[in-house]
């Protein structure tokens, strides 16, 4: 959580652009990463992330009433945005086709080749999982969201999230083994 986040959110709800700007600076890289792992294409991830923050800014007055953690609220918007994009179009490059050249396009600034290969494996393995499993694993282990935050973002109970997380990790291990 960002320092003084509650105050910033209050100001943003009142329409203060500078307050929302600070929230944007903090959460935009996280949302972008989440979206990119899901869509697998830099341009799409940029467009969708941009749209997520426009929607968030235009509807921030609704945030307080629902009482969600701000990050969960943003992830929920991002999730819906990605689902909407799946409905309207299919991804042009699937993650299964991702090679080293495509990694430059994805914006992964990893110098070590070994790390790049590992990232490639992780992304390929993730792509083989169900959407809910992907979301829970990314939120919990990449974005370090709490169980509660993740539960709010995916619209499930905390118990369901724990169970799904356990299953997702097992599935991911299986996927890794098949890739190696």
């Amino acid at each position: 959580m960002l320092d003084g986040e509650i105050k910033l959110i209050e100001n943003a709800v009142r329409g203060k652009a500078s307050a929302f700007g600070l929230l944007y600076d903090h959460y935009q890289p996280k949302i972008y990463r989440f979206v990119l792992i899901k869509v697998g294409r830099r341009e799409d991830a940029e467009d969708l992330t941009h749209q997520v923050f426009i929607n968030a800014w235009l509807n921030i007055s609704n945030y307080k009433d629902l009482g969600f953690p701000f990050s969960s609220w943003l992830y929920r918007i991002a999730r819906n945005q990605v689902i909407d994009s799946y409905r309207t179009r299919k991804p042009e490059i699937s993650l299964e086709e991702v090679d080293e050249e495509n990694f430059a396009d994805l914006g992964i600034n990893e110098k070590s080749i070994e790390n790049k290969i590992q990232i490639e494996h992780v992304m390929k393995a993730l792509k083989g999982l169900k959407e809910d499993y992907q979301d829970i694993l990314v939120m919990r282990f990449v974005e370090d969201l709490s169980v509660r935050e993740t539960a709010v973002a995916v619209g499930k109970s905390e118990g369901a999230v724990k169970l799904m997380q356990h299953r997702a990790i097992k599935e991911l291990k299986k996927a890794f083994d098949t890739l190696r």
Partner: protein
Amino acid sequence: METTELLKKLKTIKPDSDYSRKSRMVVLSHGSTRSTGSGRAELTINAENRLPVFSFSFRQIATGVLHSGWSIAMTAIFLLLAIGSFSVLKILSPATTAVVDLTGLKAEAQAIDAQIELTNIEYATAVIENKTSTVSMVLPAANQKAKSKQMKSGLNAAGMESTSTPPTIDSVLEILSE
């Protein structure tokens, strides 16, 4: 390596800084029309969401009307000028014709024709003289003078009549045979 540790490697993914900066500007500019009152802000946002294309302000409409009014006025002025210049030409045309002296022009044209005729006559006589000199070589010397005088007078008369076409050898011979 642990699966969760591998997942943490995805943290290295970062958005392009240029994209982030531009996107931030655009996102925040979306809220530039927002008012500070929460109720009114919602109203403005909802109105923007519902009517992104047709949400015109009074000022925009007024400027639109002014612009179209200007264009209509300009078109009308151009039309008036076009029609006006046509009628002005009509009005001015007798004046321009009055300036030109038609009788004078006619006389001038006739004078040119006359000059052409005169030069033709001179040319014709010169040709005939040449021909008569050749004929005189053939005819006996006694008759030559008298006949050439006669011929000259006759040819002169004929030359005056036929100004446009020079006399041919046949016509000269015909005159000679007379």
